[in-house]
C-alpha cells in the first residue's frame, strides 16, 4: 500500500488511539470540529460512521446517534463529503468510512469509490461484510490504495484468524468481547491470548475495540496490541453535549469539555493538553465528572 497516511500510521510506535465518531452527529460543522478535536487529542486515525436504520453490530448509543442523524436525512454521500470537508479543515490522519453494506450497495460501488477518492477516504470498514463476502470490495479498495479494514473476534477460529490477519490492510480490528458496540465492564476471558495471537499473525497493526471507555481499560491491552478503538464512549459524550452544541454561546465550552474528555481517554498526552484542560472552569470539570458516570 502506497497510501502515505497509512504508512505514517503503520510506522508509529505508540499505542494508537483510534476514535469512532458518527458523521454529521449532531451536524456537519460540529462533526468537523469534533474530528479536529480528536486529532488534536491524539487520534492516529478516525473511524467515521454512517447512520443506518438497522445497525446490527451496534449497541444502543450508536443506534441512537444513527436515529438522530436519520432524522436529518444524513446519507452515505453526506458523510463522504463531510470527510472531504474535514480534510480541508486540517484532518490529516487516516479517515476510515464505517458503513453498513446496504448503504454502500445502494450508492453503488463505483459511485462510492469515486466519492471516497474525491473526499480523501483512506479506508473502508463494513461491519456486516465478513471475510467470505468481502473479497470484491477489498480488491476495489486496494486498487485505490485504500485499506479494507478486517475484523476478528475472540470466537474467530485459528485458521480463519490467520487467513484474515495475513490479508489485512490498514489495521486489524480485534473485537474485545462478544456482543455489540458499547461500554462494558468485562472483556472476553481469552482476550489477551487472542490479541497476542492476532499480533503474531497480522501483517498490520492490531487494534482492540468494542467496549473500551477509559484509558485504564485500554492500557490492559498495551502489551498485546498496537492500539485501541473507542466508539460508544465518545458518541455518548457527544450525545451528552448536544444541548450545548446547539447553543451558539455554549459551543466553545462544549468543544473544550469534549477535548478534556478525549484527553482522559488517551493515556500518554503531551503536557500542554493537560494545561489546556486546567483552563476549564470548575463548573466544566464538574460537568465532565458527571458525564463520566453516565
Amino acid at each position: 500500500m502506497n497510501n502515505s497516511r497509512w504508512k505514517r500510521f503503520s510506522n508509529k510506535n505508540s499505542f494508537r488511539f483510534v476514535p469512532y465518531m458518527m458523521g454529521c452527529d449532531p451536524d456537519r460543522e460540529t462533526s468537523i470540529e469534533i474530528a479536529l478535536a480528536l486529532q488534536e487529542g491524539g487520534a492516529e486515525a478516525i473511524e467515521l460512521g454512517v447512520p443506518y436504520s438497522d445497525p446490527l453490530a451496534d449497541g444502543p448509543v450508536i443506534q441512537r446517534a444513527s436515529q438522530r442523524c436519520l432524522e436529518n436525512d444524513v446519507s452515505l454521500t453526506d458523510v463522504l463529503e463531510l470527510a472531504g470537508a474535514m480534510r480541508e479543515r486540517g484532518v490529516s490522519v487516516p479517515v476510515i468510512i464505517f458503513t453498513y453494506y446496504n448503504l454502500l450497495l445502494q450508492l453503488g460501488e463505483n459511485r462510492f469509490f469515486e466519492l471516497a477518492e474525491k473526499n480523501g477516504i483512506d479506508g473502508v470498514l463494513v461491519p456486516d461484510l465478513p471475510f467470505e463476502e468481502s473479497a470484491g470490495l477489498k480488491k476495489s479498495c486496494r486498487d485505490r490504495d485504500m485499506a479494507f479494514i478486517s475484523l476478528v473476534a475472540p470466537t474467530t477460529r485459528e485458521e480463519r484468524l490467520k487467513e484474515i490477519a495475513q490479508d489485512a490492510d490498514g489495521f486489524l480490528y480485534c473485537i474485545s468481547s462478544m456482543g455489540v458496540t458499547g461500554k462494558r465492564a468485562a472483556f472476553a476471558g481469552n482476550v489477551k491470548s487472542f490479541l497476542a495471537n492476532a499480533q503474531e499473525q497480522s501483517r498490520v497493526p492490531v487494534l482492540v475495540g468494542f467496549g473500551i471507555s477509559s484509558s485504564s481499560q485500554a492500557m490492559q491491552f498495551a502489551g498485546v496490541s498496537d492500539g485501541y478503538i473507542v466508539g460508544s464512549a465518545i458518541v455518548e459524550k457527544i450525545e451528552a453535549l448536544l444541548p450545548r452544541f446547539s447553543q451558539e454561546q455554549e459551543r466553545e465550552g462544549a468543544i473544550r469539555e469534549f477535548k478534556y474528555f478525549i484527553n482522559q481517554l488517551v493515556p500518554a498526552q503531551p503536557e500542554k493538553e493537560c494545561n489546556h484542560a486546567a483552563e476549564n472552569t470548575a463548573d466544566d470539570i464538574k460537568a465532565v465528572s458527571a458525564g463520566k458516570t453516565d
Binding site: 446490527l56 453498513y100 446496504n102 450508492l107 461491519p127 470466537t155
Partner: protein, 390 residues
C-alpha cells in the same frame, strides 16, 4: 448459501463462528435418521400432522372455476405452520447441546411457537419483541409468559419486527456459546433460509402425497402468501422442480402505488437485511422502510432470499392483494367453509378467488392456509365497526 446472487451471510464477524457451528450441526442433523424420526414423530404425535387437504366446495363455487383445495396449516398446534419450524429448530438446538433459545417475533405467532417448543423440550426461552408490538399483541405476550418464556421489549428503531430481529441477532452474539437463535421465517444469514425450508417442506410434501391420493392429475396452481416466506417456501419446495405454476402472494396493503404496502417483489430492490442479500423495501439511500399491511405476519420489509431468486428466475409468480381484498376473502372463506383463517393466509385465498375463473372445473388450485384467524378477530371487529383498518 446462495440462490443466484441472493442469500449469503452479511453479518458481523462475531456471528460467524456461531453460523459455522450451526451449519455443521444442521448438516449432521439432517443426515441423521434418528433426528429426522424424532422431528416427524413430534410433528405427528404432538402437533397433529399431517394436516388435512380440504376440498372447499363453497369457495370453489364462489371462485367459479378451478376446484379449490386448502392445505390446513391452521390446524397445527398453536394455529399455524410456524410450529413445524419451531419444533425442528428446537430439536436441533437440543441436539447441539444448547440450553437456551432466543427468537424474534412481530405479532407474536413465532414467539408463541418458539416458546411452545422451548417448553416442550425443556429449553429456556427469551423472545425479542418490539415495544410497539408488545402493546398491540398483549394476548400473545401473555401466552408466551404462560409458556414460561421471557418477553424482552425492544425499544430501538420502529420498535417492531425488524428491530426485534436486529436485537435478537445482537443478543445472539452476546450469548452464542449456550444459546440457539431460533429464527422464525425463511430469512437471515445462511444457513437459516435452508434450515427453515428444511423444516417447512413437510407442508409441500404432505400436499403432494395427498394430491396423489385424490388424482393423478397435477394441480394447475399452488398458492401461498409471502411475508418472510416460510409457509410459501415450505409449500413450494417439492414442486419447484416441476412445471406446476406457483404463486406467492404479497401484502398489497392500501395498494402498491400508495407507499403503504409490503410488496417486496413488486416495489423492493436489491439489498441486505438481517444477514442476507435479498429484495427489500428501502429508500434510495439504502435505509430500510417500515412496510405496511393489515396483516402483522406479512408486514416485513424483506423476503427470504430464495424467494428473491425464484422471482428473478421467473419460476414463481409473485402477486399482491390489498388489505381490503384479503379481508373480503377471509369473510368469504369463513361464511362458505366455516374456516376463520389468518389475515396472512387470506391474501392467498383472495388471489385464488380472483384467479379461479381462469381455470375449468376439471382443474385444481391448492392454497396453503398458513394459519388460523382467532388472533385477528380484534382487527376484524374494528374494521367492521370503524371502517378504518389502522
Amino acid at each position: 448459501g446462495r440462490y443466484g446472487r441472493y442469500g449469503g451471510k452479511y453479518v458481523p464477524e462475531t456471528v460467524m463462528s456461531a453460523l459455522a457451528e450451526l451449519e455443521a450441526g444442521f448438516s449432521e442433523a439432517k443426515e441423521d435418521s434418528e433426528f429426522l424420526n424424532l422431528y416427524l414423530k413430534e410433528l405427528s404425535s404432538y402437533s397433529g400432522r399431517p394436516t388435512p387437504l380440504t376440498f372447499a366446495e363453497g369457495l370453489t363455487k364462489k371462485g367459479g372455476g378451478a376446484k379449490i383445495f386448502l392445505k390446513r396449516e391452521d390446524l397445527n398446534h398453536t394455529g399455524a405452520h410456524k410450529i413445524n419450524n419451531a419444533i425442528g429448530q428446537a430439536l436441533l438446538a437440543v441436539r447441539m447441546g444448547k440450553k437456551k433459545i432466543i427468537a424474534e417475533t412481530g405479532a407474536g405467532q413465532h414467539g408463541v411457537a418458539a416458546a411452545t417448543a422451548a417448553a416442550r423440550y425443556g429449553l429456556e426461552c427469551r423472545v425479542f419483541m418490539g415495544e410497539e408490538d408488545i402493546r398491540r399483541q398483549e394476548l400473545n405476550v401473555f401466552r408466551m409468559k404462560l409458556l414460561g418464556a421471557e418477553v424482552v421489549p425492544v425499544y430501538s428503531g420502529s420498535r417492531t419486527l425488524k428491530d426485534a430481529t436486529n436485537e435478537a441477532i445482537r443478543e445472539w452474539v452476546r450469548t452464542v456459546e449456550d444459546t440457539f437463535y431460533l429464527i422464525g421465517s425463511a430469512v437471515g444469514p445462511h444457513p437459516y433460509p435452508q434450515i427453515v425450508k428444511h423444516f417447512q417442506k413437510i407442508i409441500g410434501e404432505e400436499t403432494s402425497s395427498q394430491l396423489k391420493d385424490i388424482t393423478d392429475q397435477d394441480p394447475s396452481c399452488i398458492i401461498a402468501c409471502v411475508g418472510g416466506g416460510s409457509n410459501a417456501i415450505g409449500m413450494f419446495a417439492p414442486f419447484i422442480d416441476s412445471s406446476i405454476p406457483l404463486v406467492g402472494v404479497e401484502a398489497g396493503g392500501k395498494g402498491t402505488s400508495t407507499g403503504f404496502h409490503a410488496a417486496t417483489m413488486e416495489k423492493g430492490t436489491l439489498g441486505v437485511i438481517h444477514g442476507s442479500m435479498t429484495r427489500l423495501l428501502q429508500t434510495e439511500n439504502g435505509q430500510i422502510i417500515e412496510p405496511y399491511s393489515v396483516s402483522a405476519g406479512l408486514d416485513y420489509p424483506g423476503v427470504g432470499p430464495e424467494h428473491a431468486y425464484l422471482y428473478e428466475s421467473g419460476r414463481v409468480a409473485y402477486e399482491s392483494v390489498t388489505d381490503e381484498e384479503a379481508l373480503d376473502a377471509l369473510q368469504t372463506l369463513c361464511s362458505e367453509e366455516g374456516i376463520l383463517c389468518a389475515i396472512e393466509s387470506a391474501h392467498a385465498v383472495a388471489y385464488a378467488l380472483k384467479a379461479a375463473s381462469k381455470y375449468t372445473e376439471n382443474e385444481m388450485m391448492v392454497i396453503c392456509l398458513s394459519g388460523r384467524g382467532d388472533k385477528d378477530v380484534h382487527t376484524l371487529i374494528s374494521r367492521r365497526e370503524g371502517g378504518s383498518d389502522e
